[in-house]
Amino acid sequence: MDFSNDTEKLFYETCLKGDGLTTQEFNTQYPDATAKDMALSVNALLTKGFIEVFQVRGELIYKAIKKEESGKSGSLMGEEQLVYNTIRASANEGIWTKHLKSKTNLHEAVIKRCLRTLEHKAMVKAIKSVKYPTRKLYMLMELTPSVEVTGGPWFTDQELDVDFVEQLTNACYKFVLTKSFPRDNSCIFTTEHTAYPSAQMVLKYIMDKRISQVDLSVDDITMLLDVLVYDGKIERFLNVVDDNWDDEEDTDTDWVYKAVRDKKAESAWQDCPCGVCPVAEFCTESGPINPAGCNYYAKWLDF
C-alpha cells in the first residue's frame, strides 16, 4: 500500500486496530495532526478505497479495509467502486438491481454501465434466486450463493429436481423398511426393540452408499423422511430413552422411523364405473346421462 504522507498512514493504521474510528478519537490520540491534514488524508484514503465511511447517529465513522480486500475495489473508480462495495456488503445473499439502485442513489443507466464493466472484469456475477425467479441478483465472483438463494440441494437450475427427490425418498424408504421388521415376515418386534433408524442413520447410509452426489445435511434427510410420513409409508415416533438420559442432548436425534406394512390399497368404490366416472356430476336418474343407458356400465357388465 502506498501512502502519500505520514498522516495518511497513521490514520489507516489506527483505523485498522479498532472497530471504527471517528476524527475526534483520532484527534485525542494524536493531538498534533491538524484538521486540514486530517481532512486531506481521509479524502485521499477514501479515493484509494483504503477506508470506508459510515454514518452512525450523525457521526462519521471510518473503517479500514484490509489490504487484500481493497485490492480490487482500489482499482475501481467512483461509481463503480460504490456499486462494487454495495454488492460486496450483500455477501452471499446477493443483491437485486432495484435494491442496488435505492442503496446507491445512482441512476439506473449508470448502475447498468457499472455492472457491465464489473462483469467484464470478472469481479461480480449474476445469479437467479429460487424465491424470486424473476429477479436478477448480483454477488461477488468468488462467493458461492447461500442456501436461501439456491434453495438447497433439492434445486437444480432454480427448479425443484423432482426425480432426484423421488430417487432419494425411495432409497430412504428401502433403508427404513429393512430395519423395521424381523427377517421372518410373519414375526414382529417386541416393545423392547429400539434399533429403529433415526434421520442421522439414514443420512449415514445415503452417504456411505453414495446414492447422492450432493452433500446433504440431517435437516435435508428429515425433510425427505417427513414426506414419507405424509405418504403413509413410514411412521415417526420418539424412541424409548434410557433412565440416565440428560436433556442437554439435542432432541432432534430422538425421533426414529419405522415402516408401515404395505396396505392393500383397494377401494370398493373405484371397482365400479361410478367411482371413476368423469361425468358423474351430470348423472341423474332420468337425464341425458343416466345409469340405465350408461356405456361404462355396459362395458363393465359385459362378460
Binding site: 433439492w154 427448479e159 425443484l160 423432482v162 427427490v165 410373519s186 414375526c187 414382529i188 417386541t190 416393545t191 425433510m223 425427505l224 417427513d226 414426506v227 410420513v229 405424509y230 405418504d231 403413509g232 411412521e235 415416533f237 408401515v260 406394512r261 396396505k263 390399497a265 383397494e266 377401494s267 370398493a268 368404490w269 373405484q270 371397482d271 365400479c272 361410478c274 367411482g275 371413476v276 358423474a280 348423472c283 336418474e285 343416466n290 345409469p291 340405465a292 350408461c294 356400465y297 363393465w300 357388465l301 362378460f303
Partner: protein, 532 residues
C-alpha cells in the same frame, strides 16, 4: 338429505315394498312430515291406500308418527325413519352375520324377522316351522333350538324389543318429555332452567340405555325349592342357575345398531392384522368381544374398563407358540398392542391392570384410511401426501404445502383445487387489510375429516342409487323371460326353456350378482364413514 340420498331411499322402498308404497315414501322423503290427507292429495291415491302404505312402513319400522292437537282435533303426522331405511341396504350382510354368529337357526330367525318387520317369539318360530314343513318330532326339536337361538339373540341385543315409544320420532319423544317438565312450573322457564332440564333428561336417557337388564327377557331361577338359604352363595356354587326366557307377548325387531357395533369391532381388529400380524388381530378381537356387551352405540368415545381376564388357546398364538409360555407371550402381545402408534388400546390411568379402548380414535383412523385409499386410487399418492400433511399440521398456505411436500408450487396448486372440488379440502381466507384484495390475502387450506367423510358419503349414495337403478333396468329388459320363468309349469320342468333363454338367464344372474355385491361393498364403506 341430498338428492342422491333421497333417490337411494326411494329405490330401497321400491325394491322392498313395491311402487305404491314408493309413491307415499317419496312424498314423505322429499317433503318431510305430513298427515294422511295431504299425502293422499299429493300422490292422488285414495286415503285408504295411503293408510295401508303407512301401515306397511310402520310395521317395518321405517315410518314414525307424531300426534299433535290442532284446535279441537288430533292430527297425526307421518315421517320416514331415514337411518332405519338406509340400514336396509345392509340386509344381506345382516343375514350372513346372523348365520355366522347363530348358525342356521339365527339366519332363519333374522330372515323371518326382516320379512315381517316385528314379531313375537312364538309367531316367529311358528312361521319358520310352518314354512319348513317338518313332521311332528323333528319340528319339536327345531322349535327348541330356535327358541334357544332367539333367546341368545335377544340377550346379545341383536334383536331388540319394540316399545310403543319406538314409533314416535326421537325428537318428538324428547320434546314431550321436556313439555312434561316445564308444565310443572308456574312461570315459563329461563334458559338456565331449560338447560338443566335437558341435562337431567339426557342423563336419564343415558342411564336407561346403559341398564343391564334387557326389555323382554325374564330371568328366573331354575329350581323352585323353598328351603331358603343364601341364594347368592348357591348361585356361585352352581347349584342354582339363572334361566332366561323371552317373554311371549313382546314384539322384537332386528337391532341394526348391534350388528354395526360388531362389524366395527371386527374392522378395528383387522387394522391390527394389517399393521402387525394375524395373532394381534385374534387378541384384539377377543378384547373387543369382552367389551362389546356394554357398548351402547357406535358414537361412544371410549369403551368401559376391561379387566385383564383373557384366556387363549396355545395354538392361537402363532405357529411356534410352544417355545415361550402362553401367558408370557400374551403379556408381550398386549404390550405391543398398547405401544402401537394407533393408540387405540390404552391402560386406564386410574386403576391398574385395566385397559380401555379408544373407540373415537379407532373410528377416526378407519375413516382416514378409507378416504386415503379412495383418494390414492382415484388421484394418486401425491394427493394423499397433501391430505395427510394438512391433517397433521392444520391450516397451511400453498407455499408451505409445496415446501413440506417437496413438490413444485404449480403442481401443488393444481392438486389443491382438484381435492377442493372433490370435497376433501376447505379453503379459509385471511385478509391482511380491510379491502380484502386477493393479492393481500392469505389462503389457508385444511382438511376437516367429518366434512370430507360427509362429502364422500353423498357420492357413494349416488353410486349405490345408480347400481340399484341399473339392477331394475337389467331386470326390466328381460321382463318377458322372467315372467315365463315364474310360470308354474316352467318351474316344474325347466326343459320348457330353450338354450338361448337359459344362457340369457345365466347372464342376468351374473349381472345381478355383480351389481348387488358392488352395492353391498359400497354400503360397507358408507357404514364406516357414517356410522362408526
Amino acid at each position: 338429505m341430498s338428492t342422491h340420498e333421497n333417490k337411494l331411499c326411494r329405490l330401497i322402498v321400491r325394491e322392498h315394498f313395491g311402487p305404491v308404497v314408493e309413491k307415499v315414501a317419496n312424498v314423505l322423503i322429499r317433503k318431510g312430515r305430513m298427515p294422511v290427507g295431504m299425502i293422499a292429495r299429493i300422490t292422488s291415491l285414495t286415503s285408504k291406500r295411503v293408510r295401508e302404505c303407512l301401515f306397511v312402513m310402520i310395521q317395518h319400522n321405517i315410518a314414525v308418527y307424531a300426534e299433535t292437537q290442532e284446535k279441537t282435533r288430533m292430527v297425526t303426522y307421518y315421517e320416514v325413519n331415514r337411518p332405519e331405511l338406509l340400514n336396509r341396504a345392509q340386509i344381506p350382510k345382516v343375514l350372513r352375520s346372523s348365520r355366522e354368529w347363530y348358525e342356521r337357526e339365527g339366519e332363519s330367525i333374522a330372515q323371518t324377522m326382516l320379512l315381517h318387520g316385528k314379531l313375537t317369539i312364538t309367531e316367529c318360530i311358528n312361521d319358520i316351522v310352518a314354512h319348513a314343513g317338518y313332521d311332528k318330532r323333528t319340528s319339536a326339536q327345531r322349535i327348541a333350538s330356535l327358541k334357544k337361538s332367539f333367546t341368545r339373540m335377544v340377550k346379545e341385543k341383536c334383536l331388540i324389543a319394540v316399545r310403543p315409544s319406538d314409533s314416535l320420532t326421537a325428537t318428538d319423544r324428547d320434546m314431550a318429555e321436556e313439555k312434561r317438565e316445564t308444565d310443572k312450573m308456574t312461570l315459563p322457564p329461563t334458559a338456565a332452567e331449560m338447560a338443566a332440564i335437558r341435562r337431567t333428561l339426557g342423563s336419564q336417557r343415558d342411564q336407561e340405555l346403559s341398564k343391564t337388564n334387557i326389555v323382554g327377557l325374564k330371568r328366573t331361577l331354575d329350581s323352585v325349592d323353598t328351603d331358603g338359604g343364601d341364594k347368592r352363595r348357591r348361585l356361585d356354587f352352581g347349584e342354582l342357575t339363572i334361566n332366561e326366557e323371552v317373554e311371549a307377548d313382546v314384539f322384537f325387531k332386528i337391532n341394526y345398531e348391534r350388528f354395526i357395533i360388531r362389524w366395527r369391532n371386527t374392522q378395528i381388529a383387522e387394522l391390527y392384522e394389517a399393521r402387525l400380524n394375524p395373532t394381534a388381530k385374534t387378541i384384539m378381537n377377543t378384547i373387543l368381544t369382552l367389551a362389546e356387551e356394554r357398548m351402547i352405540n357406535c358414537k361412544e368415545d371410549l369403551s368401559l374398563d376391561l379387566a385383564e381376564t383373557l384366556e387363549f388357546q396355545q395354538q392361537e398364538l402363532g405357529i411356534n407358540g410352544s417355545k415361550p409360555k402362553t401367558g408370557e407371550c400374551l403379556d408381550k402381545y398386549i404390550e405391543i398392542l398398547e405401544a402401537d402408534l394407533m393408540q387405540i388400546l390404552k391402560k386406564d390411568g386410574g386403576r391398574t391392570g385395566q385397559y380401555v379402548i379408544n373407540l373415537k380414535a379407532a373410528s377416526k383412523i378407519m375413516k382416514k384410511n378409507l378416504i386415503q385409499t379412495v383418494i390414492s386410487s382415484r388421484f394418486g399418492s401425491p394427493y394423499v401426501r397433501i391430505m395427510n400433511m394438512l391433517l397433521d399440521k392444520g391450516k397451511l398456505e400453498e407455499k408451505m404445502i409445496s415446501k413440506f411436500s417437496m413438490m413444485p408450487v404449480k403442481d401443488v396448486r393444481e392438486k389443491l383445487t382438484t381435492l377442493c372440488t372433490f370435497g376433501v379440502l376447505n379453503l379459509q381466507e385471511v385478509p391482511k387489510s380491510q379491502d380484502r384484495t386477493p393479492s393481500r390475502t392469505f389462503y389457508l387450506w385444511e382438511v376437516i375429516l367429518t366434512r370430507a367423510a360427509d362429502a364422500l358419503v353423498d357420492r357413494l349414495y349416488h353410486t349405490m342409487g345408480n347400481l340399484r337403478q341399473r339392477r331394475f333396468v337389467e331386470k326390466a329388459k328381460r321382463a318377458v323371460l322372467l315372467s315365463k320363468c315364474e310360470r308354474t309349469d316352467v318351474q316344474a320342468n325347466d326343459s320348457l326353456l330353450n338354450a338361448a333363454e337359459k344362457k340369457e338367464l345365466d347372464t342376468l344372474s351374473g349381472i345381478l350378482e355383480m351389481l348387488e355385491v358392488q352395492e353391498l361393498r359400497i354400503a360397507q364403506v358408507v357404514m364406516t364413514l357414517r356410522d362408526f
